[in-house]
Subunit: 282 residues, 2 copies
């Protein structure tokens, strides 16, 4: 297991917010991640909430701006926030803000120059998971959530690992990347021209063919989000869910935009949604 | 009154978070400030909470990181967040992080090159106040608070305007700047060598001689704050308050540091403190 370097440690709401750096074997570079642990005396074996951030973000955005620690401390939930791509001068990058560093799309790239470093799916589901489980003894139930590109990541990782995650939520997710500009651009670069391979990384396609455990999904989408119509379109996955009678809810949030203010407003409800599913399944 | 340019507008917790830019007459430069308004239908004449940030900050730090909008929306409090100094290429600056831009210390500088631009006291108590009152019709009761250098600003502005502000609070404030390195450095630069003039901008000195209305003061200080012993020392103002039987409370917060995580943890209690004083005085 990678050695962890503690970069920050802050008491907050009776819990502790950490930031760590480690040398990732899967990604071949130094990576940071953030971790919130609720009060250890009160909550000895907390469930683990995975948060995947959007384009241009690091592990800091949600940690600094969502205000989620308050609800997580009260509810007794641990939260882990990965970065959004491999990083560093030796790692392939693009001048575009929606490709390369800060835009890993939570998949395993097969095409150069992105392969072999851009393997965010394996990094999260294997390497960082092993750190959470082995180093921090976070062996309770797990939930996954994210924003925009990270909402896509949460849906894809959650649906592909429905035996592991108990529920999925997302804010303004890219639900059908193979049909929208952000996704087509990234998938062409990372996965190449064979669009059949893209479907493994598309939540709407995965849901169409999903035959595993039906883990519930909650999506919040602001109706004042400037990316709503062109890049997001949650009705695409909602239609598939309806056809399959899959437990997926899309809530349109009036006046809300694509910013962290929307996440801050509803993150407590997302944590409560995940915990309520846990109670239902016990 | 300055014309205001709206830079950002976000729905959050049923209220609205704004960011504006305007050409400040007092400071002679373009300035930004942030403003949160609770739901207008529910709260038609909200009290106004002033937040003054610390060294290196802008109006964004508290706005993005404190999570205060949730409590302010629930309690029906408007919040205004000024920047911490004049800004721009034509404005005097220093290579030091604790002097010049980002470090205005909420006073009116008399010495060059800082005069005539560095007049943050007048900017806040006159120009930005006029904008709050006239442009946004925020004519309810007012409270003032801040962090570190901004805690110093809140104490000084509050005590010098005790007929206007109903209560003061602060997180890890510089309470006695004329006796600590940050304050001595800044006051020497901004106010010159005559240390008698410094006392007008020192909360502990102001409290010693305070003969006006006794507005209550709440201070939170983390005991794991790396600036606590050298720069902050809240016991200095607490001793003066004790001697005068002035209503000032210092709470030591175990394990808490100088970061915004401490502010996030206790900001709701600060807002409730201010509102409770309002009820007491009605």
């Amino acid at each position: 297991m990678s050695q962890l370097e503690l970069l920050e440690e802050h008491v907050v709401f009776g819990g502790t917010q950490y930031k760590y750096r480690h040398d990732s074997t899967v990604l071949g570079c130094l990576m940071t991640f953030s971790l919130f642990l609720p009060n250890k005396e009160t909550f000895s074996n907390p469930p683990l909430f995975w948060w995947l951030s959007g384009l241009t973000c690091t592990d800091d955005n949600f940690t600094h701006k969502a205000g989620a620690q308050k609800a997580a401390a009260r509810l007794g939930v641990a939260m882990i926030m990965p970065d959004t791509s491999p990083r560093g001068e030796e790692i392939a990058d693009s001048e575009d803000w929606d490709l390369g560093q800060g835009a890993g799309f939570y998949l395993n790239a097969t095409e150069k120059p992105w392969a072999p470093h851009y393997q965010m799916y394996d990094y999260i589901t294997k390497e960082l998971s092993a750190i959470a489980h082995d180093h921090f003894q976070l062996n309770g139930p797990e939930f996954i959530s994210g924003h925009s590109m990270g909402g896509h990541g949460a849906l894809v990782i959650g649906l592909r690992n429905a035996d592991r995650f108990r529920s999925i939520s997302a804010f303004a997710p890219i639900v059908n990347p193979i049909e929208v500009p952000w996704g087509v651009k990234a998938f062409t670069e990372y996965l190449g021209d064979d669009q059949e391979t893209w479907k493994e990384w598309d939540a709407t396609e995965l849901l169409k063919h999903h035959a595993g455990k039906e883990i519930p999904v909650l999506i919040d989408q602001g109706d004042a989000d400037s990316f709503y119509e062109k890049q997001l379109q949650p009705s695409k996955i909602a239609t598939v869910a309806d056809e399959k009678d899959y437990p997926l809810t899309v809530r349109m949030q009036k006046g809300h935009d694509h910013s962290y203010y929307t996440i801050a407003t509803f993150i407590e409800e997302h944590l409560e949604f995940h915990l309520s599913q846990l109670k239902n399944s016990q």
